[in-house]
């Protein structure tokens, strides 16, 4: 087993090094005290268990609790999903650099966590994403170009959540965990056996809303899977700033199971998420999955990670690349041939082209869209303001017509 090779950080980060040292000192200070022994009872094992089915070297390994048996085309399918997702993501990053998008939140490095969990879903399962679940959106069949609308600044959510059971991106950290829980409560009321997945990050685990979602889900036994992508960074803050024990352990204290999975291992993520969904579906309530992964890129295109983290950390994680390891496995086992990889390369290229084209022709919203959809049943003030603004805008048109001069800019 090479579980540690993924679990342990490639390079020791100075702050994390310090924390360990500090903990040791504290323990030394009062070694004979009873409270120290009690402290141990409450705290975590040093090396948390990490479910892994495919090592970074592309070797299949077994796990006593989580088995998976996939057909070659299923394995190729997962590979294809990850490759296309990465391609879409890097295309979006370029489009941002070219000024077509105002911002982009890349999922680079998190493809296995997203495709593995996304492919565990049934059509009737419902997803509540953060702003980074482009791979899950892909699995749910959301048109990738639609994901770009809010980053381009043409809307705040460019798809109908109900047409793919994929909720809108949520920017206020942690909020969606409660929406997912409420939705899952509704699923139970309807007597359905669908499940709901709430995605969130390591940083989000600190938000009160996430804890309240745990409480509500436990109390109502709601069929919701809390899926935490621990990519080890919340912008510039390492996970140590959010928790001093692994995040999956949070669940037990709320009365439901938690498990940590190698988030760069698409097979393990798929197996664990399937089990969690089944747990929810079968009336056993919520479960927390912590996918231990790594944010390979910047937080968003506005971020500069060189200010706060060493490059060798990222380099070390490159060796655990989720796509690479599945490719090695496919190649080693002869499960995919050259033609497959070549075909995928072409498909990738085409996806890039189509996304580029779609974004470049994506129209700006009409000015009067400002006043649309604020209320479903209307609001007198909106009507008044819309009319006044239209009149105001028209006054420029009149001025243009009569004097031939443009307005002075709003």
């Amino acid at each position: 087993m090479t579980v540690e090779s993924t679990a342990a950080r490639g390079t020791s980060r100075s702050s994390s090094g310090k924390r360990t040292a500090a903990a040791k000192t504290a323990a030394k200070k009062a070694p004979a005290k009873k409270s120290a022994s009690r402290a141990k009872r409450g705290s975590a094992p040093a090396q948390p268990e990490l479910v892994q089915l495919l090592t970074p070297e592309g070797e299949r390994v077994e796990h006593p609790d989580y088995a998976i048996d996939l057909k070659p085309e299923e394995l190729r399918g997962l590979y294809r999903d990850m490759v296309l997702t990465r391609r879409f993501d890097s295309e979006a990053t370029s489009l941002q650099r070219q000024g077509e998008l105002g911002l982009w939140a890349s999922l680079l490095g998190q493809e296995a966590a997203q495709i593995g969990s996304g492919r565990a879903l049934r059509d009737d399962d419902y997803v509540f994403p953060t702003y980074r679940e482009h791979g899950v959106a892909w699995c749910k069949g959301v048109d990738p170009a639609n994901l770009l609308g809010m980053f381009r600044g043409v809307n705040n959510g460019g798809w109908d959540p109900n047409s793919n059971n994929f909720h809108l991106y949520t920017i206020v950290i942690g909020s969606q965990a409660l929406h997912a829980t409420g939705y899952a409560m509704g699923v139970t009321k309807d007597g359905a056996d669908s499940a709901v997945v709430a995605y969130f990050g390591d940083g989000a685990s600190s938000q009160g809303d996430v804890a309240e979602a745990f409480t509500f889900a436990a109390v109502y036994n709601a069929p919701v899977v809390f899926f935490c992508q621990n990519n080890q960074w919340a912008i510039s803050e390492p996970t140590e700033k959010q928790s001093r024990v692994p995040i999956y352990q949070r669940a037990a204290g709320f009365g439901f199971p938690g498990v940590r999975v190698d988030g760069n291992d698409v097979l393990a993520v798929l197996a664990v998420t399937r089990a969690a969904l089944e747990h929810a579906r079968s009336g056993q309530g919520p479960m927390l999955v912590e996918a231990f992964t790594y944010r390979m890129g910047a937080h968003t295109t506005s971020d500069d990670p060189t200010r706060y983290r060493a490059d060798d950390e990222r380099v070390a994680w490159e060796a655990k690349d989720p796509i690479l390891r599945l490719r090695t496995y496919l190649e080693n086992e002869g499960l995919a041939d050259e033609a497959f990889f070549a075909g995928l390369e072409k498909e990738s290229e085409e996806l890039g082209v189509s996304v580029r084209e779609k974004i470049r022709t994506m129209p700006d919203p009409d000015t009067m869209a400002i006043f649309e959809n604020v209320y479903a049943d209307g609001h007198a003030l909106i009507d008044e303001e819309r009319a006044q603004f239209a009149e105001y805008l028209a006054s420029f048109a009149d001025a243009d017509e009569t004097a031939g001069t443009a307005g002075r800019g709003h």
């Binding site: 798809w159 409420g182 604020v374 479903a376 609001h379 007198a380």
Partner: protein, 329 residues
């Protein structure tokens, strides 16, 4: 059964009947909040509902307001119509983020693809001798937020009908219940056709000056108008009923007639709803106003301990003082 009732009901009971009728009319309607089940709420507004509609539809929640509103949003996304109780005005703030950033914006964020038929019931205002956080009037903090609607009934009939309409609305409605008036009785006509939810109502006609108020202060204004009559002054009282939107047309019509306006609310005057009404009515009625719009309300201070609330709250005398000042221009 209860829906046929028509007669003298206290405001709290009228809301209870309204919730009951809504639960009966639409299986998607849910009632949720702290202690709304067996206890029937601390004001008994949900009394008997869990017994009759079950724990699945009348839901005692964990003690977490953000969780209550956040899960209500999720339930709405699933097609339910949750009616959420916040136990007291001062306890809505843990849910403020979910209300302002999620509930209010979800419909717009989804370009109209999802609806948010969530009612948030807040017993609000003072006058009941309570401890801190139990007597506040935070309506301006919600009315300023686009995507929300805010209403407050002043009497039992409105309490019944406005609640039914709020539950039927596809928009989130913050429903401010005038807790000091919970026990005031009024005729509830459950067979009448109600006025639109956001329409103001001339509760008492008059010619010399307009008093505009909503919720608990309508009664105070009506009493002031009665007292003023004895002094030979004819005050018109407009019950606004809705703080977002505000029915400025009705107020404007009244002010065009009377030439003077005093706005009364319990909430602090500074940045309160009176400011919005004063600003807009002054714009609309600049040439009709014979005196500036005056405001009577709370001071820029935390709601005081109970032994001071009688002094703090706008009462008959403070309203009439403002009337005097307005008429003195």
């Amino acid at each position: 059964m209860a829906a046929k009732s028509s007669g003298q009901l206290p405001v709290a009971k009228a809301i209870n009947e309204s919730l009951r009728a809504s639960l009966e009319a639409d299986p998607k309607v849910l009632v949720m909040g702290e202690d709304v089940g067996k206890l029937g709420g601390v004001f008994r507004v949900t009394d008997g509902l869990q017994k009759d509609f079950g724990e699945d539809r009348v839901i005692d929640t964990p003690l977490a307001e953000s969780g209550i509103v956040g899960t209500a949003i999720g339930l709405a996304l699933r097609g339910y119509r949750p009616v959420v109780e916040i136990q007291f005005d001062g306890f809505v703030f843990p849910a403020y983020d979910q209300i302002v950033t999620q509930l209010a914006k979800m419909h717009a964020r989804a370009l109209g693809k999802v609806k948010m038929p969530v009612v948030i019931r807040i017993p609000y205002g003072g006058g009941i001798g309570a401890v801190e956080h139990h007597s506040e009037s935070p309506e301006a903090l919600f009315a300023h937020v686009a995507g929300l609607k805010c209403v407050s009934p002043s009497n039992a009939n409105d309490a019944y009908w406005m609640m039914r309409q709020a539950i039927e609305s596809d928009d989130p409605v913050i429903f401010f219940e005038p807790k000091r008036r919970y026990w005031d009785k009024g005729v509830v006509d459950t067979s009448a056709i109600p006025a639109p939810l956001h329409e103001a109502h001339v509760a008492r006609p008059g010619t010399d000056l307009t008093l505009a108020a909503y919720g608990p202060m309508v009664k105070t204004c009506l009493e002031a108008a009665a007292a003023a009559e004895e002094e030979g002054r004819s005050l018109e009282v407009v019950d606004l009923r809705s703080m977002s939107p505000i029915d400025f047309d009705t107020v404007q019509r009244s002010v065009e007639k009377t030439g003077r306006l005093v706005v009364v609310h319990e909430a602090p005057v500074f940045y309160g709803s009176g400011a919005e009404i004063a600003a807009r009515i002054t714009e609309r009625c600049f040439y009709h106003l014979e005196s500036p719009v005056l405001r009577v309300g709370g001071f820029h201070a935390p709601y005081p301990p109970a032994r001071l609330e009688e002094e703090y709250l706008p009462g008959l005398d403070r309203v009439l003082d403002a009337v005097d000042r307005s008429l003195a221009y």
